[in-house]
Symmetry: D2
Subunit: 306 residues, 4 copies
C-alpha cells in the first residue's frame, strides 16, 4: 500500500484484455495487475475509458473487478470505474465494486439534455451516500460532454466528504488544477490523466500524480519522484524524452496502448472490442520504430530502468 497519502502518486488505468473472439482474457489481466504491482505503483484503475467499460456487460465488468482484486492479493488499491447514465445504476455498480473489494470508485458525471449543476451534484451525493469507499471524481469533458466548473467541483469536495480525489482532464488542465488547488478548503489530491500529455505542466501546476493509461507507468513514477524531490530539470528531461511516445499513444482509441501492452508481454493479444478500431499495420510499424528510438535495445517486458 502506498506510504504517501492516498491518491498521491501513480495509478495506471488498465486496459481490459480480450481474446480474439472478444471474450475477456482474465489471465492477461491478472498478469498485468501483478506487473503493475511489481513496478511499485500506488494503485490501479480498471474499467475506465481505456478499459472499454462502455463496451461490456455488467457481468463482464464484475469479472474484471474480481480478477483485478484477486491479483493484487489485497496489497494494492483497485479503483473501479462505475459511471452510468442513471444515478441508481451507477450506485449499483459502485456497490457491486465495493463488495468485490474495490478500494475506490472513479466516476464521471452524465450529460442531460439541459445541463444542470444541481443534478450533477445530486448524482455524486447519491452515490456517496450508498457506499463506504472513496470516490475519485473524473472531470473529462471530451468524453462526457459535461463541463464541471471550478465552483461546482469545490462545492462537491466540501459537501461530499467521500470524494477523495479529482482526476482532472479538462483543458487547459494546468489552469484548472491551479484554480482547484487554490480554492480547496478540504485538500484532496488532484491527478492528471489524458495519457500524461500535459504531465510536466500539470505537475508544475500542483498535480499530485497520474491516473492514466500510459503504458510505461515507471516513467510517470520517476517524474512524480523527481517532482517531489524538487528536481524539475529531471522532470523535464523525462517528459521530453518520452513525449513523442506519449503523443503517439494518446491518439484516439485504445489500440496503440494495447499494442504496447502486448509488446511488453502483459497481454496475449491487442484485440479491441468492435466497433473500436484495432491498430493498422503501418501504425504498428511506426510505433515499433518509435519504441526502438526512445528505448533502444530495451527489454520491454521488464521494468524500464530510468
Amino acid at each position: 500500500m502506498a506510504t504517501t497519502p492516498y491518491f498521491h502518486g501513480v495509478y495506471p488505468i488498465l486496459a481490459t484484455p480480450f481474446a480474439d473472439d472478444e471474450s475477456p482474457d482474465l489471465e492477461s489481466l491478472a498478469r498485468m495487475v501483478r506487473f503493475m504491482h511489481g513496478l511499485g505503483v500506488d494503485g490501479i484503475t480498471v474499467l475506465g475509458v481505456l478499459g472499454e467499460a462502455n463496451r461490456m456487460l455488467d457481468r463482464e465488468r464484475e469479472a474484471v473487478v474480481r480478477t483485478a482484486v484477486q491479483a493484487t492479493g489485497g496489497a494494492l488499491p483497485v479503483i473501479v470505474g462505475t459511471s452510468h447514465s442513471g444515478t441508481r445504476a451507477a450506485l449499483g455498480l459502485s456497490q457491486a465494486a465495493q463488495e468485490l473489494g474495490a478500494a475506490a470508485v472513479m466516476i464521471t458525471p452524465q450529460a442531460e439534455a439541459v445541463p444542470s449543476d444541481e443534478r450533477v451534484f445530486e448524482y455524486y451525493r447519491t452515490i456517496a451516500e450508498g457506499i463506504s469507499i472513496p470516490i475519485v471524481a473524473q472531470d473529462h469533458p471530451a468524453s462526457t460532454a459535461v463541463h464541471m466548473s471550478v465552483p461546482l467541483l469545490l462545492r462537491m469536495l466540501h459537501e461530499i466528504p467521500r470524494i477523495a480525489a479529482i482526476k482532472e482532464e479538462a483543458l487547459p488542465t494546468a489552469s484548472k488544477i491551479r484554480a482547484l488547488a487554490a480554492g480547496m478548503q478540504r485538500k484532496v489530491p488532484i491527478l492528471t490523466g489524458l495519457g500524461a500529455l500535459y504531465g510536466q505542466f500539470d505537475l508544475e501546476a500542483g498535480s499530485d500524480g497520474f491516473n492514466t493509461g500510459f503504458a510505461f507507468p515507471e516513467v510517470l513514477m520517476a517524474m512524480v519522484g523527481a517532482a517531489r524531490a524538487g528536481d524539475w530539470a529531471h522532470v523535464r528531461t523525462l517528459y521530453t524524452r518520452f513525449l513523442p511516445l506519449i503523443v503517439f499513444e494518446q491518439q484516439p482509441g485504445v489500440a496503440i496502448r494495447k499494442e504496447i501492452l502486448r509488446l511488453r508481454g502483459l497481454i496475449a493479444g491487442a484485440r479491441v472490442r468492435h466497433p473500436g478500431a484495432g491498430i493498422q499495420p503501418a501504425a504498428a510499424r511506426q510505433l515499433h520504430d518509435l519504441l526502438d528510438a526512445i528505448l533502444p535495445g530495451a527489454d520491454l517486458t521488464r521494468p524500464i530502468v530510468l
Copy 2:
C-alpha cells in the same frame, strides 16, 4: 398475434414504471402490458429510450423483459431494445432477450469518433448472425448522433435478412420514408416514431404504422385503420384532434408520458429515474387541462372510443 404482416400496425413503446425508491415496479409493467394487449395492438416494445433502458443495470433489464413476456402469455410480440455501445455486448443483450422470449430486438447504431458506415453495417450484421429473431433497425439521429444514409439502410436491408423493419425517426421523416420505400428490393415495414409527431404525414408517405410511446395507442390504431381503408379525411381528423396532446407529450424527457400512464391507471406512480426530470406541478396542471379539453368526461382508465 397480428393478422397483418409482422411489424405493420401499432407497437407501443412502453415506459418502465418505477416505485418511489426508483426500483422497477414490475406489477405496474405487467398491468400496462395487459392493457395494451387488450387494446389490440400488434405488439409492444420495452427498453427503448422511453423505457429508460439507459438508466438500468443489465439484471434490471432482464426483469423487465421477463415480466413483459410473461404478461403477454405468449399472445403478443414483445420487441426489446438491446442497443449497446459495444457490438458484442449488444449481441449479448439480444441473445438474453431472445432466451427470455422476445419476438424481436430493436437496435440503434453507435456513434464512434470517426463515423463509419462500414462499422455500423458490421454492428448490425454481427448481431444478426448471433440471434434467430428479427431486428427492428431504429434510425434516430437525435439520440444516437449517427446519421444512417438511405443507401446504407438499403444495403443493410438487402444484405442482412434478419432486419425485418425500420423504425424511422430521422428528420424529415416523410422524405426518408419515401426514399426508403422507393429503394427497397426486399420490402419491409417502415414504422414511424417520435411520439407520432408527424403521424399523418408519415402515413401519407407510406409508413406502415407506429412504434412509439404516445400514451393513447388506440388513437394510432384508428389512424392506421383509416389509412389502410383509404379514409384520409378520417386520418386527418384524428391527427388534428389529438395533435395538441401529441405535441405536448413529445417534449423532451419521459415525465409527461409517465404522468398520462398514471392518469390512465396503468402505472402506480410517475417516478422518473434520476438524473431524469419528473413532471413539474404547473406542467401537470397544463396536461390535465389539455386532456379535459380533448377528451371531455372520458374515463382515461378505459380504452378511448373514437
Copy 3:
C-alpha cells in the same frame, strides 16, 4: 405602431428571398414587409435563422436591413438579428443595424470550448453598451449549443437594462417562461418562437406573444388577441386547427416556409441558399394538400379571415 407595450404581440421573423441565382431578391422582401405591415403585426424581424443570415455576407445583410426599414416607411419596428461569434463583430453588426434604422437587435449567445456564464454576460453587456436601441435576447440552445440558465437570464435582465425582451426557445419552453416570469424584478416581455409549436402552452404559461416565422402571422395575432381577452377556448380552437400546419412547417430547414410565402404571393421564388435544402416535390404536394384541408378555398395571397 403597436399600442401595447413594446415587444408584446406578434413579430414575424421574415425569410430572406433569393432569386434563382441566390442573389437577394429585395423587391420580394419589400413586398413581404408591406404585407406584414398590412396585417397589423407589431413589428418584424429580419436576419434570424429563417432569414439565412448565416449564409450571407455582411454587405448583403445590410441591404436586407435597409430594404426592410425603407419598406416600413418608419411605421413598423424592424428587429435585426446581429449575432456573431465575436463580440466586437456582433457589436459592429448591431451598430450598423442601428444606423440603418433598426428598432432593436436580436442576439443569441456564442458557444465557446469551455462554457462560461460570465462570458455570455459580458458579450451581451458589451453590445448593450455600444448601441442605443433595445436588445431581444434569444434563448435557442438547439441552434446555439448554449444553455442560458434562468439565473443567468435574470441577471442579464437586471444588470443590462437595454435587454428589452426575451425570445424563449429552450425546451421545455412553458416551464422556462414560468420560471423567468416568476423571477423578474424588472418585467420584460417574453415571446415564444419555434414556429409556434408550443403556442397555446406558452401563452398559458405567460408568454406575451410570438417572435417566429410561421407563415400565417394572422393566426398568431388571433391567438394573442384571444389570450388577452381571456378566451382560452378560442386560443385552443385556433391552435388545434392550425397545428398540423405548424408541425409540418417547423421541420428543419427553411424550405417549407419559403414555399408557403411563395404560395401567398409574397416572394417570387422559394430558392434556399446552398447548402440549405430546397423543398422536395413530394413534400410540396403534401404541403399543398394540407393547406387545402385547413384553409379550403382560401385565397392565400390575402390575409386569412379567422
Copy 4:
C-alpha cells in the same frame, strides 16, 4: 517564391494581431509577414482558426488580406481562409481574396443538420468554378464537425482540379495521410496542421509539409528539410526537442501562440478577441520557463538557428 512544387514545405498560419481595443493591428501583421518571408517559408496563410477569422467582420477580413499581400511585395504566396456557412458567401469571400491578390484560398466544409457528402462536394465545386486560384481543402473535424471520408476527398481531388492541396487534420492524421496518398490518381501535396503535434509521424506517413500556426516555423522548415534529405534521425531530434513547446502551444485557444509571437517581437500585444480567452499569468510564466529551457539564452526576436 518556393522552388519546390507549390504547397510543399512550410506555410505558417498567422494570427491576426489586435490592439488593446480589439481593433486589427495591421502594422504588427505586416511585420509578422515580413519576418516569415525572411525565414524563407514557402507561403503564409491568414484568416484561419488561429487568425480568429470567425470573430471578424467581412471588411476587417479584407483589410487583413490586403495588408498581408502588400507586405509580401508579391514575393510570397498568401493563402486566405474563406470558409463560410453559405456556399455563395464562401465564393464571395474567395473572389474578394483573389481580387486582393491571394495566391490560394483555404476552405473547410460546413456542417448541415443532415450530413451529406454530395453537398460538401457541391460546396467545393461551386467555389472552384467561380475563382481562378487554387484551393487548399482543410480537413479538420474538430472545428467543423464534418467528417470527410477518404473516398469523398479523393473524389473531390479527381473531379475538382482547382483543389491543389489537402490540409489534413483529422485524427489519426498519419493513417489518413497514408490512405489519401495511396488513393490519389492526381497527386497533390498533403500538409499537416494541428500545431505540428504529430509532425514527425505525419512526415513519416508522407506529409509534404506543414500548414499550421506553430510560432517557430524555422523548426518545421528544418524538419521538412531533414525529411527530404532522408535524415530521419534529425527529424526525430528536432521533434523531440521542441515537442514540449508544441504540446503546450496547441492547447485550445490562440492565447499562447499570440504570447509567443509577442515575445518574438512580431506583434505589439497578445490581445485575443472576446469571447476568446487571453493567457493567464501562471500560464505565461510556464511558457516563459519552457522557452528558457528549450531555447536557453536565445534571442527569440531573431530566427532560431538549429
